[in-house]
Symmetry: C2
Subunit: 301 residues, 2 copies
């Protein structure tokens, strides 16, 4: 690997406020706004702010509408929200959030567990959601959960992920995000899948979303960047999972990703120290230690 | 990166019993022997068992002689010990430990802090230590601490690390280990240094030793393996550092390294589940949580 194998810049999407908080005990709206305020100062250009999903399944985001109302405070940031249904997309667009991530599970087992639908049926809804999003002037990303592995079905065949990606794009998705939902991906498999998906949808941007459950998250991110991916999800402080949930583990930590990439000459546009300040705020808000090694090393010194 | 960029096999040296335990409160000899016993079952072929250093500076290893006496129990494992002086090497060889790691600091600041000597003077002792080791039928590895960065002097110039490596080999070291003492290395810098060192000492084996202080340890390990390195240090459970020491952080976790490499088709010869069993034993012995994400995910399920 040399400097020439890496892009000059990448774009990090902060997903802590959505993915990071979704398994935490619900935080008051004011706390979440304070976190967004801190993150908006870091140089991050894109933040996944909330999710318009079942309040019963995800109480942490039950007041997504109230949060959405406040996002105009930070016009320099592109906010987005996650949805898991046409109804969720309507709610989001209805309160002015036009950039959406629609999550579908590549594996049937996870699709049933997550939305009680077949993958094909969930995928079909992209047509309607894309229309809603595009009419509102937004962009639609299809997040492909269990792109590498499924907690129920085991290894996801590459062809299956490729097929779902192709169908999602054909139905109107503007971008595909390959998500390592359970944090089992490893660098070589990342490279293989990205190459296969890119061959199938050469004109569509590919993003990646890694969890650090087995410690390989940054190595997978670097493999993705080496394979030409410039859109990466990360979570401040490695927020995510839940201290009380079995085996749950957070997304890769935003500050660790920034550190590794900037030190490799890849520009992120995000200020490391300001992210660490935001992480400290997040840690106080959630009331337990964040997992990021870089953050831990900082707060201990 | 493709499968062809990676070697077929690598050799992991377990350093938990030495580096991992050195900042912990001293464990009883029986506990350390139980840990060695558990590690000897994993398929690990090399284990750094202890250190012959100042008992005052490192009380955790003050009874290195007693531990050394027991190592013949596991004849299938190649045990080694760390030393920081000619006197330490004499102690080690005197009780039958012939494979030694002699640690020298590339940066003057760290050399002063660690052994109160100039780098050149500490390096010069390799001649005498190599003679002791070779007469005893062992191999001498020179560990180059602060190969990338120094906590006192900042960035270590590549030329300086290369120069110390060259001199160490000229004086009789059989292998060079590039150590990221404070866990600041990043993948591209790893590649650059390995290439530079290899060019200077093309016939000498190069090993690497990473800490995970900023989360990049596995990504650095993969970069090293991509650059042709097949000797890597790791620590069971990510043991190392100390919960009470500012900013301290452990080595990369043996089980996380095995997982990433085996999933990439690189054979380690080590059984992941047996390492996790050993990690559980280590966690009980040290009495606090180990940092390895993979281990944590396992014990929580």
């Amino acid at each position: 690997m040399t400097r020439r194998d890496l892009p000059a810049t990448v774009d990090i999407r902060e997903v802590g406020p959505r993915d990071g908080l979704q398994l935490e005990a619900p935080l008051p709206l004011q706390d979440r706004l304070a976190i967004l305020k801190a993150l908006a100062k870091t140089g991050l250009r894109r933040i996944e702010a909330t999710a318009f999903v079942s309040p019963k399944a995800v109480p942490a985001h039950s007041d997504a509408e109230l949060l959405a109302d406040e996002l105009e405070r930070w016009p320099h940031v592109e906010f987005s929200a996650l949805v898991a249904s046409v109804g969720g997309a309507r709610r989001a667009v209805g309160c002015g959030v036009a950039n959406l991530e629609y999550v579908i599970s590549v594996s049937e087992g996870h699709s049933q567990a997550n939305v009680r639908r077949r993958t094909a049926d969930a995928t079909a809804d992209i047509a309607e959601i894309a229309q809603l999003v595009h009419q509102a002037g937004g962009q639609l990303e299809a997040i492909l959960a269990t792109s590498w592995d499924c907690p129920f079905d085991g290894r996801t065949p590459i062809e299956r992920t490729v097929e779902v990606a192709q169908r999602a794009v054909a139905l109107g998705a503007d971008r595909i995000c390959l998500a390592d939902t359970i944090g089992t991906a490893t660098p070589l498999r990342v490279t293989s899948l990205i190459h296969a998906v890119r061959e199938a949808i050469p004109d569509t941007e590919i993003a990646v979303h890694f969890h650090n459950t087995r410690g390989s998250g940054l190595a997978c991110s670097l493999a993705a960047v080496q394979a030409g991916v410039t859109q990466l999800d990360a979570s401040v402080g490695g927020l995510g999972g839940c201290p009380f949930a079995p085996g749950a583990s957070g997304n890769i930590a935003t500050e660790e990703l920034i550190y590794m990439l900037e030190e490799s000459g890849v520009h992120t546009g995000v200020d490391l120290d300001t992210v660490l300040t935001a992480a400290a705020l997040v840690e106080r808000a959630v009331g337990h230690q964040l997992q990021s090694n870089l953050f831990r090393a900082t707060v201990q010194t």
